[in-house]
Point group: C2
Chain length 318, copies 2
């Protein structure tokens, strides 16, 4: 059942011993929302805990500063930024069908929760957590703001992408006023690379392939490359943005080896191609400008399949 911000706030206010669920392969928005909401619930004197199938990525560990794990039997379950039960992962299986409130900004949310607070026009779920704090009468603290700013900045490419709205900026202004070190957060996420990361990025770029008269650019990352350069896949998170940056490229394609004969594909669109639709034809999904899917088989086959799908989409919009 879809509920309003006011209803979500009053339901949260009436609960205690809350479990907050974040999605697997956690990013800045799901964890920023989770830890941000945790601080809000603590400020209200409630017991709460956060669960995620995957460990906290190194890059996001600062979000857990001040977090204290408490031992209690959850009496209410809230998911943040989770569009689909499949994105919960194995670790959250016991709670999969027990979500009392889902807070989300993905229009594709599968309505798995008893209550759903959904705003598809929100740049980030963290925006909704900000507004919930207001509705709950909780003043934003520096700790909350560090979490919430992180989700908003990472989901918008630092206010760069077209999901950014005037409200995103106004909320960012308020979060900054709590005294957060936003410049550090941004440098940490957008402007810091290890020498190894930079070297691997160099390698990947020098092997970049152009297809369809330069309308698509494709890069490949293999397990072997991670090993040679001493870099983890998580550290190469931003790499999928690279091929689309080349002038004339409408679709950027990134192929990442994930296991034996298993590849994760990330597509990025410059303007005219709905890559979510392209990925949907291959069993994946996402947003108009950023989407993904997983393909199995030998690399040359995987490459041929994704190029065929992209080529078709480019032809259709031509």
């Amino acid at each position: 059942m879809e509920i309003t911000m006011k209803e979500a706030a009053s339901w949260l206010a009436s609960q205690d011993d809350l479990l907050i669920l974040c999605h697997r392969n956690p990013d800045g928005d799901t964890l920023g929302s989770g830890y941000g909401l945790w601080h809000i619930l603590k400020a209200m004197g409630k017991r709460a805990a956060i669960r995620c199938s995957d460990p906290l990525p190194k890059k996001l560990q600062y979000l857990a500063e001040g977090y204290l794990e408490e031992d209690f039997e959850p009496r209410a379950v809230v998911s943040v930024d989770i569009a689909d039960q499949q994105l919960m992962g194995e670790g959250l299986a016991p709670w999969r069908d027990r979500v009392d409130l889902a807070i989300d900004h993905h229009p594709s949310n599968t309505r798995f929760a008893a209550r759903l607070l959904l705003e598809g026009e929100s740049a980030a779920t963290c925006e909704l957590i900000c507004l919930l704090a207001d509705e709950l009468g909780v003043s934003l603290t520096r700790e909350m703001a560090t979490c919430l700013y992180t989700g908003m900045a990472t989901d918008t490419g630092c206010f760069k992408f077209n999901n950014t709205t005037p409200r995103t900026h106004r909320l960012a202004a308020r979060l900054m006023e709590t005294g957060i070190d936003y410049a550090w957060i941004n440098r940490h996420h957008f402007d810091t690379k290890t020498r190894n990361q930079l070297a691997l990025e160099q390698q990947v770029i020098s092997n970049m392939e152009y297809h369809f008269d330069g309308a698509a650019a494709l890069i490949i990352l293999t397990e072997n490359m991670y090993q040679i350069f001493g870099v983890t896949e998580a550290e190469m998170d931003g790499v999928a943005a690279i091929p689309r940056k080349v002038e004339g490229v409408e679709v950027g394609i990134t192929i990442k080896e994930r296991g034996p004969q298993e590849y994760k594909i990330s597509l990025r669109s410059a303007e005219r191609v709905n890559v979510s639709a392209v990925c949907a034809t291959l069993g994946g999904g996402g947003h108009y400008f950023a989407a993904g899917c997983t393909l199995k088989g030998p690399l040359p086959e995987v490459k041929a399949r994704i190029l065929e799908a992209v080529g078709k989409a480019l032809e259709e919009q031509a």
Copy 2:
């Protein structure tokens, strides 16, 4: 004489036939301010024109959409984002000592104008132009906002750097509400590179030098490199941000050949070094985190001088 926003607005309101001066090697802020102010003055029914020593860079040509050159004898001269008369260049020589109002956000402004509207805490001069529009009772249009957003976004690395303030975000929100294509502006400035630019960038990164145990990283761009890769200096504008992105680097150094035995140095600081002070010892200036200077002599000497100055600064803050 330093004047207030109100005084600047009422002086502007009382003038006509205005000449707006932008600094040489024009960037998004000086041109965004110039064209933004031009639209504001036109909305007030005045005659105005823009002058710059250098031609409009290709990347910023969209700012001039709707600009009409009129022929008149200037009766008032306004400079935007110009900290020092030297930054006017040869083309503005006739106006060098005739500036009636300087609008600027550089704390280092040399007070060359009869009136100075200076706010050192402004992320961009474009912020001051926004506030002037308010003070003048001029409603922001899409044309004005495209110019003003460009200056704010380019001077803050898209709201990423620590010069960004809550006010910057709130003004950005208002500019967005005029219907500008902010996502295009951001993609155009931050996420688009030609294949040649990318190739030259690759070359520059692979030659990057590390100094002082990795606390400084240095890159060099020569005229010869521009020729080989078929890229102009203006196109490599963002390159100065690269060395500072490497983990552990406190000061990023970019040396660009400008002519025979003449080099433009750009310094970028991660956190602890005031690079404006470093550049000041070498006859340059700028901001705490981003500054520059020009050094003459053979490249090895120039390199030794800048490294010595940076090394000293790193030692002092250690």
